[in-house]
């Protein structure tokens, strides 16, 4: 049967299991939107800015494990997607961005709203396509989904000229994909697996570093089996948080610039690093030459280009984390590392996460701790970028898998609200908490409109410190406390929320924190809490830029307050 390019696109999306699209329309994508009226099974969520469409698609993809889809028109619609696509690229998220393009005869003529979006997104997509005829739409979509979700996942952009959206051709989705240039390695090489098992058997002081790859391949059970069988502590990367239960006895924090001091010190002291689905980002490793100086390194990753890129590796294993761990675990013997574990417990006791004791003020760490308690560590937590992001990673103990959505590689302020939109659509029956910075929030707060229109159940907690806090902290520490352009005004957030018919509360006193959280939690639907927090609180621990993990600085103040950690399973 003959179908238009738009119909073929919709049919193909359905075949790929798509049920929701985030987007905004415009001239060059109008035919496609018109066709959407024939496909009620494709829910369309209208966002307020295309950046948000891409972040929402990413949020959706990260909570469901399915590619997220966003639509935008040509020109400014397409360029607005760029930040969101880049974010998905750096955090290896499968996102399919479909853009309208001016009609084929106008391409290359600088027509109205013509922009070379495949050129622009070339370095920030796993692959992209400018569709040249309606007959190739089906094949392109099929290939795009396959590429987006296989191997190391990533965003794909498909640019479809307006005339191709309306041209009728035969629809056929049965053609096999022929991709001689794309064959991801999914199984670890047996020799390498045995070599790794041998190193693990020989190690006295091993640590596991669990990265985003564990979450992407859903290797939770396999990771747990390895850790428990060989009694190896699990340190995660920022994006690896929630790949392993936070209150498990073997859970040993996360590493890097604002990771736990004890985690960083453990990396320094260990004799074997088993790096699983992570890429040795500079924020994670600190000074590379000082990274795990006493350790051999086993590196498991699906992307061969990550191996040896930043850190020298003794045993590389290319493959899907889950497959690799499954096969490797067969060679792992039951072990105990009593001395090492005792040493680590001592390290943890000596270098706990701690905050100054100022019981009269609201510390952001305290708020996050209370949100964690109120949700039993089981909410899906989405953050912006800045201090509040680091405090969330530190003080929210994740007791569910894949619970944290944060912008790791790109560090995109404004990620939190739109990504929460995607998360809420993908996990409609679960608690979604959006931990926002007052700065980050103001970058994409127009999405309150989307939340209101779609009636999404998102609890928003703004950590309002009146500053672009993370940058202010750097100015305080490294630029003589000259606060250039970091003091930040804001609207009356409560009134702003109310303007969107979203109930909201200001929280100014410590004793109001818990009741406010409870109130938001009990409310059915979106609720916004504006926490007026200690303005000049700093994030510690901190590995100063250029220093190695061992040189981690801890809270410089004496009086400290720590919160007890559950050490049950």
């Amino acid at each position: 049967m003959k179908m238009t390019g738009s119909q073929i696109l919709c049919e193909s999306l359905i075949k790929e299991g798509v049920d929701v699209i985030f987007g905004i329309l415009g001239g060059s994508i109008l035919p496609l939107y018109d066709t959407l009226t024939e496909y009620p099974q494709l829910r369309h969520v209208l966002v307020r800015h295309e950046q948000a469409a891409a972040h929402a698609a990413e949020g959706y993809a990260r909570v469901t494990g399915k590619p997220g889809v966003c639509f935008a028109t040509s020109g400014p619609g397409a360029t607005n997607l760029v930040t969101g696509i880049a974010n998905a690229f750096l955090d290896s998220t499968p996102v399919i961005a479909v853009t309208g393009q001016v009609a084929t005869p106008f391409i290359g003529k600088d027509a109205f709203q013509e922009i070379d979006i495949t050129g622009i997104t070339l370095p920030i997509t796993k692959h992209n396509y400018l569709v040249s005829d309606a007959a190739s739409v089906a094949q392109t979509v099929k290939e795009a989904f396959y590429v987006a979700r296989s191997g190391r996942p990533g965003p794909i952009l498909i640019d479809i000229p307006k005339d191709i959206q309306v041209n009728p051709v035969e629809f056929d989705y049965s053609a096999k994909l022929v991709m001689p240039g794309y064959k991801p390695t999914v199984n670890g090489h047996p020799t390498q697996l045995k070599k790794a098992a041998k190193l693990i058997a020989e190690a006295q002081r091993p640590v596991i570093i669990a990265g985003h790859g564990v979450i992407i391949s859903e290797a939770y059970e396999e990771l747990k089996e390895l850790a428990e069988k060989a009694q190896i502590p699990v340190i995660s990367t920022l994006l690896g948080i929630s790949s392993f239960p936070g209150s498990h006895i073997l859970s040993y924090g996360w590493l890097g610039m604002h990771g736990m001091a004890y985690s960083n010190k453990a990396i320094d002291a260990c004799d074997l690093v088993i790096a699983i689905g992570m890429r040795f980002d500079d924020r994670a490793t600190g000074k590379v030459s000082g990274f795990a100086p006493r350790a051999k390194v086993i590196h498991i990753d699906i992307d061969p280009a990550e191996i040896g890129k930043n850190v020298k590796v003794d045993v590389p294993i290319v493959g899907d984390v889950r497959n690799v761990l499954r096969s490797m675990n067969k060679y792992i013997e039951t072990m105990q590392h009593e001395e090492w574990m005792a040493e680590l417990e001592e390290l943890r006791a000596k270098h706990p996460l701690s905050v100054p004791d100022c019981s009269d003020k609201i510390l952001p760490q305290y708020v996050i701790h209370k949100i964690c308690q109120a949700t039993d560590g089981k909410a899906t937590v989405v953050t912006g970028v800045g201090q509040h992001q680091m405090w969330t990673a530190q003080y929210y103990t994740f007791n569910r898998h894949n619970g944290l959505l944060t912008s790791g590689g790109l560090g995109t302020m404004g990620f939190e609200l739109p990504a929460s939109v995607g998360a809420a659509v993908g996990r409609p029956d679960e608690d979604i908490w959006c931990i926002a910075g007052d700065g980050s929030f103001q970058m994409t707060m127009q999405e309150l409109g989307t939340i209101a229109q779609e009636n999404l159940n998102i609890k928003i907690a703004i950590m309002n410190n009146g500053y672009l806090g993370m940058v202010r902290q750097w100015q305080e520490m490294f630029y003589g406390k000259r606060y250039m352009a970091t003091p930040l005004g804001g609207p009356n957030f409560v009134k702003l929320a109310e303007a969107y018919c979203i109930p909201a509360l200001d929280v100014k006193r410590r004793e109001d924190v818990e009741p406010a959280i409870q109130k938001a939690k009990d409310h059915e639907g979106c609720f916004l809490l504006n926490f007026i927090v200690e303005p000049e609180e700093n994030v510690y621990p901190m590995v100063p830029p250029g220093a190695s993990l061992a040189e981690v600085m801890e809270t410089p103040r004496k009086e400290v307050l720590t919160w007890p950690r559950k050490s049950t399973l």
Binding site: T118, G119, L122, P123, K126, H127, L130, V147, M179, P180, G181, Y182, D303, P304, A305, G308, K309
Partner: protein, 165 residues
């Protein structure tokens, strides 16, 4: 780290944008490309690219892996350490008059190069060889005054029965 010239051979799908992808990768990752030459391969719809890149072994291995990650790139091999034939072609237009012409022709003969065009005050020389040979001829002709030079960049193939890649 010691850097060295490496010769990389790649088979890529003959699709629009492939070269854009390759050159963008070199620029973005700061890899130093000396030359690139492209042409058809023995396979339909697949082009063969030869790239000469300057870098340490570790860097060049990164180049190779990053190139290979590209979906339109079928295969990439670093053939630097293998027994290879490497050739490039250059056209050199050199100033020549009645007094210098014979001297130039002598030099060209020694290099087994060819004169492919003659006019009032110039000779155009065609030379094939490895890069040092072309460089040396260029240096020798320079004293006469070079009007123009065009080089293809290197193409390469391993010796013996096996395919390079």
């Amino acid at each position: 780290m010691a850097t060295q010239k490496h010769t990389i051979v790649a088979l890529v799908l003959d699709k629009p944008g492939v070269f854009n992808r390759i050159s963008s990768l070199f620029r973005r990752r700061g890899f130093n490309m000396e030359s690139i030459a492209v042409g058809h391969s023995e396979l339909p719809n697949i082009s063969r690219v030869t790239i000469v890149v300057d870098g340490s072994t570790v860097q060049v291995e990164q180049v190779r892996k990053q190139l290979e990650k590209n979906i339109d790139v079928v295969k990439v091999t670093d053939i630097t350490l293998r027994d290879t034939i490497i050739r490039e072609l250059a056209l050199i237009k050199v100033h020549a008059n009645s007094t210098t012409r014979s001297e130039i022709i002598q030099i060209v003969d020694i290099f087994r190069a060819k004169i492919v065009d003659v006019s009032g005050d110039s000779l155009t020389v065609e030379v094939t060889g490895d890069t040092p040979k072309v460089d040396t001829l260029y240096k020798l002709l320079k004293v006469f005054g070079i009007k123009e030079i065009a080089r293809t960049g290197c193409i390469a193939m391993t010796r013996g029965d096996n395919a390079s890649i």
